[in-house]
């Protein structure tokens, strides 16, 4: 439990004296923290204010009147009128001795090097150490707690023989390196992984001199179930754990608080920047949402997603056979010309729900008001299981992540929080630590099912009905949080589930957390950036082209893609404009480079309805090298200007928000990030039906792909995510694969009615028997001309909901019979 809440939860105050300073603290405070409040700093290495006391390093030894020996400040609780002395000759000597012992097992020439000052200034070596000692593996971020403690305790040499453990540094897992030669066994990483994350990937292994940190049997972190949340890296006081991407960036120039652009939880971030570029990211201590924690995307995905070398940063135009760089004037002029000419019912704009509120609103306003057209749609429509109507009802419920962490009963359905919505998983575990009872409803043996007090395991694809049952069993009274993963709203009986949740939420003590992928999907719904939805949201009676029309073969003359390209080949349109971070995987006629989340100010709306700020941290000079990207709203504003519609122009992001407030009642006031409830509206719905359709022994369960940002597959730009292979292939139970005689990675044929699709199968230890899971590919722009796996794309079209299928070994698809390449667009 973090100190703050421990302090808050008790009212009685105690008085004590630390080195003569009088201070009063709440009962339950440790001597270490009380000293900090009194302005006295006691050297410590293993204690951390978010973690339970460990008493491992023994540096915090103090003298307390009436207590013999040298009690440890970090694990001694204050009693009334305590008298603490932290600085005597004896204590100083004791600490110096202990620290020397710790350092005798740590490559520490950097600490005693004579060139220290010189080196610190010029940073010619890393943390001022010689290569031979192995200290080169330390990041040079000037952020070594061990060095600080050495200065504080004041030692200049070591009187003990130095041992070097000679362990091989571990570089094989993605995102962070581990060099346990530098480890001082403070146990912070073990405790954060266990207490805060509840993942328990790390443990102390072996004992005595051989003690080592790591997962069981020396398995990799990937195999051990690591979430790659980076919490361990953040608390490590040494260079033993170091982030790969930013390791050599050096000390950051500054840090800004921003919002994670990768999912609807909207975690608050501390974004460090160096030389005008985003360097690394850690969780902000925002007690309302993520409390310092993040998931793998937020923690490690941002630098690469921003700086990928394939970022397209210049406007481009097709001229005959050439696709060449243009300036903004030319590019906007040409696009505006086309927009002027197109008939309103022959135009379609597809907008990604990952855009900022400003971008989304300006987009739909340009189409509706500027062009008098109704053709604005988004794959977000398809990402909202059950349709926008269902979600305007769900978002009208009290959604609160904080209430979840304080609930007495938590029911979680259809969620594995290892890589998606991890922060929700952290809060579920926090609730459990405080005594909550967890009921998991999942056909999969998800990470939450594994630790649940009660695990209800329905048939695959039948979580909605099982959840309705589980909720019915709740006796009422007390507090309840119901967390519903996106997959559940596709299951039969989802309609009843939504009504049930609405009834339930009338109870004061109930919070519902419905999860859906898409960073600003709630914003897209509220601001009318979906087909059939006007800002508000209100139903749109006018009929424009939609993405569904295109799928059915009805193509617009002019197609404007903003942040997403849900096609693998160029759709049959006269003129295609793409406004994005990357070029789409097919030919377009005009490309407008958009600013990434790190390059423009704006806001995102999270699943609770909080409108949260995005900060521009990248400050690179505009020009041929760093490009000419503009914020999405700015591009729409400039186009409006060229269409002669100065009323649709905006001076800055704040001006867009002002217009939003004028048109959308209930939108947050400037700077207000309180959660809001949406007014439910009569919007389109797609009922999920009552039974799983189809025939066959297996149930194919589609899951909406979650590693997407502005239409691109993050696994394609963030190297580490690629190494995790999260959304590839058909995932099946090992025993089923063995029974079919299919090797891991081998091909199976899925038969849905008369359609057959051949796809690679992967073993999945959490998958139940007679089921197969697949990630839907809805929006996939691809990077560097790469297209999505066409077999998966076909499956996504055929199975939008859980469906019964037959699965057999080998490739028996028609594509194979024709003997041709069944890979379009490659």
């Amino acid at each position: 439990m973090p100190i703050e809440s421990r302090v808050r939860s008790r009212a009685r105050r105690l008085r004590l004296e630390v080195d003569g300073h009088k201070v009063s603290v709440p009962a339950g405070t440790t001597v270490l923290y009380a000293a900090e409040l009194a302005g006295v700093s006691i050297p410590s290495l293993c204690s951390h204010k978010e973690l339970s006391p460990f008493g491992g390093c023994r540096l915090c030894a103090v003298d307390i009147a009436g207590i013999g020996g040298h009690p440890l400040a970090c694990s001694t609780v204050v009693t009334d009128s305590m008298e603490v002395t932290t600085d005597t000759d004896g204590l100083r000597e004791l600490r110096q001795e202990i620290l020397q012992l710790i350092l005798s097992e740590h490559p520490c020439s950097c600490i005693f090097c004579g060139e220290q000052d010189e080196c610190r200034r010029s940073l010619t070596t890393i943390r001022k150490a010689g290569v031979t000692t192995g200290c080169r593996s330390c990041p040079n971020d000037g952020d070594c707690e061990l060095q600080r403690v050495v200065e504080q305790v004041g030692i200049t040499e070591i009187g003990y023989p130095i041992t070097y453990r000679g362990l091989e540094a571990e570089h094989d897992d993605p995102f962070f390196d581990r060099d346990y030669n530098l480890c001082i066994l403070c146990g912070r990483c073990v405790r954060v992984c266990n207490e805060v994350r509840g993942t328990s990937v790390l443990a102390f292994k072996y004992r005595g001199r051989k003690t080592l940190i790591g997962p069981a049997f020396g398995t990799s972190h990937i195999e051990a179930g690591c979430e790659f949340c980076g919490a361990c890296v953040s608390v490590c006081p040494t260079g033993a754990l170091a982030e790969k991407v930013s390791k050599w960036d050096g000390k950051a120039d500054g840090v800004e608080t921003s919002t994670c652009p990768f999912c609807g939880i909207g975690c608050r971030l501390e974004v460090a920047h160096k030389d005008g570029r985003l360097s690394s990211v850690s969780g902000a201590l925002d007690s309302e949402i993520n409390d310092g924690q993040l998931c793998v995307r937020g923690r490690f995905g941002l630098p690469e997603a921003t700086h990928h070398y394939l970022r397209a940063r210049q406007p481009m135009l097709r001229r005959g056979a050439y696709f060449r760089v243009a300036n903004w004037d030319e590019a906007l002029g040409e696009v505006a010309e086309r927009l002027k000419q197109v008939a309103p019912d022959e135009f379609l704009m597809l907008v990604s729900s990952d855009l900022s509120n400003e971008g989304l609103f300006a987009a739909q306003r340009l189409v509706r008001s500027g062009l008098g057209a109704n053709g604005v749609d988004s794959t977000a429509g398809a990402s909202l299981p059950g349709g926008p109507g269902v979600w305007s009802r769900l978002f009208s419920l009290p959604v609160s992540i904080k209430a979840l962490s304080e609930a007495e009963t938590v029911i979680v359905a259809g969620l594995d929080s290892r890589f998606s919505f991890s922060v929700v998983g952290v809060q579920v575990r926090r609730a459990m630590r405080e005594g909550a009872r967890l009921v998991a409803v999942d056909a999969r043996e998800s990470n939450l099912a594994r630790m649940a007090d009660e695990w209800v395991r329905p048939e695959p694809g039948d979580e909605a009905r099982a959840l309705v049952e589980a909720v019915r069993k709740w006796p009422g009274g007390g507090t309840l949080a119901v967390v519903v993963g996106p997959r559940v709203f596709d299951c039969p009986g989802a309609g009843e589930l939504v009504s049930r949740l609405e009834t339930l939420a009338q109870d004061e003590g109930v919070t519902v957390v419905p999860l859906v992928h898409g960073a600003n999907i709630r914003g897209a719904l509220e601001l009318g950036a979906l087909g059939g939805v006007l800002p508000g949201p209100r139903p749109d009676e006018g009929r424009g082209l939609t993405l569904a029309d295109m799928r059915a073969g009805k193509h617009p003359k002019v197609l404007y893609l903003v942040g997403e390209a849900p096609f693998t080949t160029r759709p049959d349109c006269d003129f295609v404009v793409a406004q994005d971070l990357y070029l789409p995987p097919f030919a377009v006629d005009a490309f407008l480079p958009a600013a990434s989340f790190a390059e423009a100010e704006g806001t995102l709306t999270n699943l609770e309805g909080r409108v949260q700020e995005l900060r521009a941290v990248e400050r690179l000079p505009v020009g041929a090298v760093h490009g000419f990207a503009l914020p999405d709203w700015k591009i729409f504003s400039d186009l409006a200007g060229r269409l002669g519609r100065s009323d649709l122009e905006y001076a800055d992001a704040a001006a867009v928000r002002k217009t939003i407030r004028a048109e959308v009642s209930g939108f947050a006031a400037e700077g207000d990030r309180a959660p809001r409830r949406m007014a439910p509206a009569e919007l389109p719905v797609e009922p999920a039906g009552d039974t799983v359709q189809g025939t066959g022994r297996f149930v194919l369960v589609p899951e909406r792909a979650s590693f997407r940002h502005r239409g691109i597959d993050l696994a394609g730009v963030v190297e580490g995510l690629g190494e995790l292979h999260l959304e590839e292939g058909l995932r099946m139970n090992v025993a089923d694969m063995t029974r079919l005689g299919v090797e891991p990675g081998g091909t199976v044929t899925v038969s849905l009615g008369s359609r057959r699709v051949a796809v690679a199968a992967r073993p999945d230890p959490d998958c139940p028997r007679r089921a197969a899971y697949v990630s839907l590919i809805e929006a996939w722009g691809g990077v560097g001309g790469e297209a999505a796996d066409p077999a998966l794309e076909l499956l996504s079209r055929l199975a939008a909901r859980p469906v019964r299928v037959r699965i057999s070994a080998g490739d028996r698809s028609p594509a194979r019979k024709r003997g041709g390449a069944h890979v379009p667009g490659r």
Partner: protein
């Protein structure tokens, strides 16, 4: 702790690597899934399987709602657990006080050189496993080692070489 209700994973839900764990029912018999039973459950598993293969650690972990790392961390803390299959012959080398003083370490080093494996390991051909123990209770014979049931006392490097040679040619 409140009653824990969970569907048991089907036997073949777990990936099959190393030997399949058939005696699962026997391993958990009489235990009701409390975390405090961890060490007794591991002991039962080891007595039935001869060692703790990764599968067993994984199953015990999931059954007790712990992570594999936690189970492994606890198991490696106690010298009694082994993680490699036992060999056909069992060498135990004493490094208790008396044997240590009289050169037990040299015995262990000799074994290591000859068999290529150290304490807690099994030779690749499955012939020998090596274990270090704290005291065999016959300190007067130090340094002591046992080969299967036979106790060899007052060992020297030469005598040990002889024993191993005899075994190899047997």
């Amino acid at each position: 702790m409140a009653a824990v209700t969970r569907p048991q994973p089907e036997l073949d839900d777990l990936p099959a690597s190393s030997p399949p764990i058939d005696p699962w029912a026997q391993i958990v018999q009489g235990f009701d899934g409390n975390r405090s039973d961890l060490v007794p459950v591991l002991q039962r598993a080891q007595s039935l399987l001869g060692y703790l293969p990764p599968d067993a650690v994984r199953r015990v972990a999931r059954w007790l709602r712990l992570s594999e790392s936690e189970v492994f961390g606890v198991a490696t803390f106690y010298a009694q657990f082994r993680f490699t299959p036992p060999g056909r012959h069992h060498v135990r080398i004493c490094l208790g006080t008396a044997c240590h003083v009289k050169g037990g370490v040299q015995m262990l080093e000799t074994i290591q050189r000859r068999l290529g494996v150290g304490a807690g390991e099994t030779t690749a051909d499955g012939e020998y496993d090596v274990e270090r123990v704290a005291c065999l209770g016959c300190c007067a014979l130090a340094p002591v080692l046992t080969l299967d049931e036979a106790i060899h006392g007052q060992m020297s490097v030469l005598k040990l070489q002889g024993i191993l040679d005899a075994e190899a040619s047997a």
